[in-house]
Subunit: 711 residues, 2 copies
């Protein structure tokens, strides 16, 4: 192995060990020890050294057994630990002493089994941290390097799932991982699968990181029940992107039921589904809704990477299937290509008059049976410069004629610059299906699922194009421990605004008045009309205590408002300590009110939320979110992606809003958080007034919440 | 056949003929004539008379051929016409003369092939109308009565798709229909399939009507490219409901692409997708999104009809699959049942301590391998009184143990009061899959698709329960021809409101003034504040010409507004003929504004649209729709089903709106349309002011558009 150490992934010797010890080797039929040995010695093609450790046997299958790891003649790269949970800690101590690089603990009975198990698992974690030996598991079926044909697993399914391929799979649980492996049945090959179980040390993110480096892998599939370490996940996914490898992920826990069930299954904290989806989307991870969609999306990406084009063609011999496919394409928001005139001319010259030459192309069944015509016209469509991908729905298994078409399609694919995606719509999986699969073009299983995979493929191409145009997103160096605020933890509105204003965030002209006359004087300096608000760090909801008066047009109005507010606040919040009255410039009429919020997610750090506030958020959940720090192009797309953007863009006869100033505000808020990243938990600017183009924006109300300083 | 004539469906002798003529019989290999004969004589079990008609042969396959229909020795119930399009009209004339009941025209080359074909098709239609002979087709593969094993079709697939069953299929096109038939491959049986092609006479609705009567059919599946006759469809579907048979439908043309492609495929007008979906939902038709979902939903309904309960259970041996399934259940808005305490106790007594006893139940894999425990605990869950259905995700095909579980599940189903729905998640279709299928429990294919089918099953149960609680919806007797309005076709706002007021629809107190003084006087009588609007049937958008003034608090303000409006209207609409000024009561502040609209769909008649107007409609499409006449319980659910209903229900500190008065308004508008059904095309009440409880509603603006009288 000529690979230089500095290039080597930290998990290299786990996936490509030179020697393996099986600790707990056994010949008891169906025992974990025996099954593990069987997979390693019989079904793998492993030419390294295998050491057997057994406390009861001196020989197994004609091989010497050693009584303990301590007494092994050499130190293996990997120790597979299949002894009972109670004996595992001692074995791991010995492994660490001997300098074993990786311990793969398949045994169950740890944190998933109760308190005693959790105690053992904590000891295991301590061994890993102390010794530097990496631990995989426990409570997992092991790992399979299919491309190297090496199974470090007790799974009796290992010998059945040995089709190599370009897809790397990283899961926590074993059941769903094996489900993905069985996609091999329809011809989809898998490079390797890690199933990291309780993740006492190594976690899904580490395997994504490894797969990003493995040259045999084109696409990484991750099934995640909970994120242990958000930063590690972000780093791994970004490495995969740099290496041109898409990550397709299914995150369990998107509904309350799923969250609860996943938590009870792996003791994972699933986190907020909205935050997780935001982060995945922003990092270019393709999030899917169901487990079969993982394979659909990964397979299409493995076949060919999207170049950033977005329009597809439909080519079909059944008018009904063509119409249905076009319909579903439209419903999913994918665009049908407008053919180049040369394509239409070429089709017209070859197809009969009653064929449909537009997009979808309906060749009619007569043509499907003529291989030469099929080849020529399908290739015409594939070569159209406006076409990113060609969908070929196959509605029925007609036997031989369907298999002939499949052969033709496989042939045309060789000359096609774009992927051809057959959809096998029938439940009958005849020879035609096998012809596609053997030709490396495994068909999708339903129109809707196929179009979903295609939409994701297109969107990922667009994400990649955007990613190439802009500097890569980089997290702030470290959240670290919370630091004391340079201002008090609980800020009054006036203090919060003053702090924000220093960071260049536009707030109304304002001042603090302690008497009616001061207020009136201040109002005159600011310019009428003004707003008066009670100023107190103790009052969170000022309107609830009658603490706000708006539209004050002269000094008398200001004085009267002072009276009213004072009386009302004294009545409704008698114990609040008052700083005085905040007198503020009133925003010009006719603007649009939006909200800008920042919150801190325990896994991924600060995220920004933007929307039109009020019913738009409460009723329609119409918001955009981004992980901070915010990049300018992301700020732009945040503003434009809300459904109610039209209200900022001149709908219903309004003037166009000052979107440039709004984007600037979002950037400044992000920078402000970055400058105080260890101190700020939450910011709520609601409402922010957005004027017409040229009028700018104003944060009319502001709440800043600091982090509790670490003890 | 002891069936009495008055009970007999008009299509009875088409599906159960006593005699069939094949016109265009042939022995030329692969010809339509030969394939039709082969299906009828070799692959069907037809014991009636078969007559062969051939212009060139006197004998075929040892049977006499007759030179023409005219010369047949007896009149067949059905004539299958497989002669070329050019010869078809003459054959049909002869069939009509002879009193043939049904002509099944398989030949292509009619309206789908161009002008000459369309001309022939028009002649065909005329023959059917003149003679009363019903025509099926043309341009279709024929029909299959699978339960009777009778194939009146040229399709070479007929001999392969002969699994009888409880599902009736009615499609237009042949390709997608055959696709549904191939669900037989996974064990789903089909009673019969009609594929009505160009529908010159018989159409999908007629087959739904027939299947509603056929005792061998439990569920009807319809694939619709366009509705030819809306009323006929409504009648057929309502008959199916009366007979307790659900109709599951896929309507192609829900996106613009689909609409265009379906139109070019069958020359159908697909209609508005929103209107179609409204009608289907209101009639209890289960609309699906993809062709495989037709079978998923139909099969579940055929297995067992939903009783109206809504909560499901998940039972699984894999924690990961249980969590994923629960997650997708939550995302789709289905509810997990809360187990009865007795169920939890029973499970706790039988399952090991580390199993999850809640819902989802995770038995862990150990238990899945113990048949007795599996049987007992699954049955405990099935018998829980809160459970409507039990989902059993099967993540992996493990071979024998998976097949054993399948056998156990089939066993438990026999004693279970509710359906058990296994989900076969793997691409490997081993013996376990076959065990389920043979046991009559064909598994669903993906978690998402299974949950979608289950959601539809539950919703249909709820629809049935509602339908049982209320009188059946009945369309207005007939739209008939448009009749002249009893008022002018173009109504001014004042006239429209006066007309609506007579029907009990609340409008503001108002009057028409022709001078400033009249206006001031009128305003005083009405009570200040008032609104003044220009009254003219020529001005559609009053605000655009400065024709509206609101909040007029005294006589002077009214006089000044009259001046302003007059000047502005004269400037912006110099040619409009003016009736004067409409002076109106102004709605009390603080209400909510909604819109109530009625439009007339060419296929289904009048529909009502309700929503909060403005951005709620324009940006969020947040509206509810119903086919008229409106039933009171539908009016209630209309108001409650919009996403922004919370704004009528006291959200954001508002008083609760007068929903009772609003529902009353919707009913009165519906009655108003019913009373003038031949005259009214469109009504637009926008805005309608809705006050707080007890304050009522007011139609603040009203547009009524009459139908053009027929010439």
């Amino acid at each position: 192995m000529g690979m230089q150490l500095r290039d080597m992934n930290p998990l290299h010797w786990l996936f490509n060990p030179r020697s393996i010890a099986v600790v707990g080797a056994s010949d008891k039929p169906a025992s974990i020890g025996a099954r593990t040995l069987d997979n390693l010695l019989v079904h793998s093609r492993f030419d390294g050294d295998v050491y057997l450790v057994s406390t009861t046997k001196s020989e197994l299958f004609g091989r010497t057994c050693w009584p303990s790891v301590r007494e092994l003649p050499a130190t293996p790269d990997v120790a597979m630990v299949v002894v009972p949970a109670s004996a595992a800690i001692d074995v791991l101590e010995q492994c660490a002493e001997r300098g074993v690089k990786f311990a793969v603990v398949l045994t169950s009975g740890f944190s998933e089994a109760g308190e005693e198990g959790a105690r053992l698992e904590a000891q295991m974690k301590a061994i890993a941290q102390r010794s530097g030996m990496r631990i995989y598991g426990p409570n997992c079926p092991g790992l399979c390097n299919v491309n190297a044909r090496l199974g470090m697993t007790f799974s009796p399914s290992f010998p059945h799932d040995l089709t190599p391929g370009p897809i790397g799979i990283a899961t926590q649980g074993g059941g769903l991982g094996r489900n993905i492996m069985q996609a091999m049945e329809r011809g989809i090959g898998v490079a390797m699968w890690s199933s990291s179980g309780n993740e006492v040390d190594l976690q899904v993110a580490d395997f994504i990181d490894y797969m990003a480096d493995d040259p045999g892998i084109k696409v990484i599939v991750a099934l995640i029940e909970g994120f242990k370490d958000g930063r590690r996940f972000v780093d791994a996914v970004q490495k995969a992107s740099r290496h041109g490898k898409p990550v397709v992920a299914l995150k369990v826990g998107r509904s309350e039921y799923g969250e609860r069930a996943a938590a009870s299954h792996t003791a994972s904290i699933t986190g907020s589904a909205e935050v997780n989806s935001t982060v995945l989307r922003q990092l270019g991870v393709i999030e899917v809704d169901d487990i079969d969609e993982l394979v659909d999306a990964a397979w299409l990406l493995a076949r060919q990477m999207p170049a950033g084009k977005s329009d597809v063609a439909v080519y079909c011999g059944s008018g009904g299937a063509a119409a249905l496919t076009a319909d579903i394409i439209g419903q999913q928001g994918v665009t049908l290509a407008r053919f180049d005139p040369a394509t239409t001319r070429a089709l017209a010259a070859k197809l009969p008059s009653y064929a449909a030459l537009g997009n979808p192309v309906d060749t009619t069944t007569a043509v499907m049976a003529q291989p030469a015509l099929f080849d020529a016209t399908l290739l015409d469509v594939c070569r159209d410069p406006n076409v990113a991908l060609v969908v070929v729905p196959v509605a029925i298994d007609y036997g031989k004629s369907t298999a002939d078409s499949a052969e033709a399609l496989v042939r045309v694919q060789k000359d096609s610059p774009v992927p051809i995606v057959p959809i096998w719509m029938s439940d009958r999986l005849g020879n035609g299906f096998q012809t596609y699969a053997k030709g490396g073009i495994v068909p999708a299983k339903s129109v809707g699922k196929a179009v979903k995979a295609i939409r994701r493929w297109i969107e990922h191409g667009q994400w990649r194009r955007r990613a190439q145009q802009h500097a890569a997103w980089r997290p702030w160096p470290s959240l670290g421990e919370p630091a004391p605020m340079d201002v008090p933890l609980r800020l009054s509105e006036a203090d919060a605004k003053a702090w924000l204003a220093k960071a260049g965030i536009p707030v109304p002209r304002s001042g603090l008045a302690r008497t009616r006359d001061e207020a009136a004087e201040l109002a005159a300096r600011i310019g009428f009309p003004v707003v008066a608000k009670v100023a107190s760090a103790d009052i969170a909801h000022k309107t609830d205590v009658g603490g706000v008066a708006i539209g004050l047009r002269d000094a008398d109005a200001v004085r009267a408002a002072c009276e009213r507010i004072h009386a009302s606040v004294r009545q409704h919040a008698p114990n609040a300590s008052l700083q005085g009255l905040l007198i503020e410039q009133m925003a010009a009429p006719g603007g649009v009110e939006v909200l800008v919020g920042v919150s801190r997610d325990a896994t991924f750090g600060h995220l920004m939320t933007f929307g039109l506030g009020g019913v738009y958020v409460e009723v329609f959940k119409d918001v955009a979110r981004r992980l901070l720090p915010l990049q300018r192009h992301e700020a732009e797309s945040m503003v434009r992606e809300i459904r109610s953007f039209s209200l900022l863009d001149g709908a219903r006869g309004r003037p166009k809003a000052d979107v440039a100033a709004l984007i600037d505000l979002l950037m400044r808020v992000s920078d402000f958080v970055g400058a105080h990243v260890q101190q700020i938990d939450e910011i709520d600017l609601n409402p922010v007034w957005v004027g017409a183009v040229g009028q700018g924006v104003l944060a009319l109300d502001a709440v800043v919440v600091g982090r509790e300083a670490a003890a």
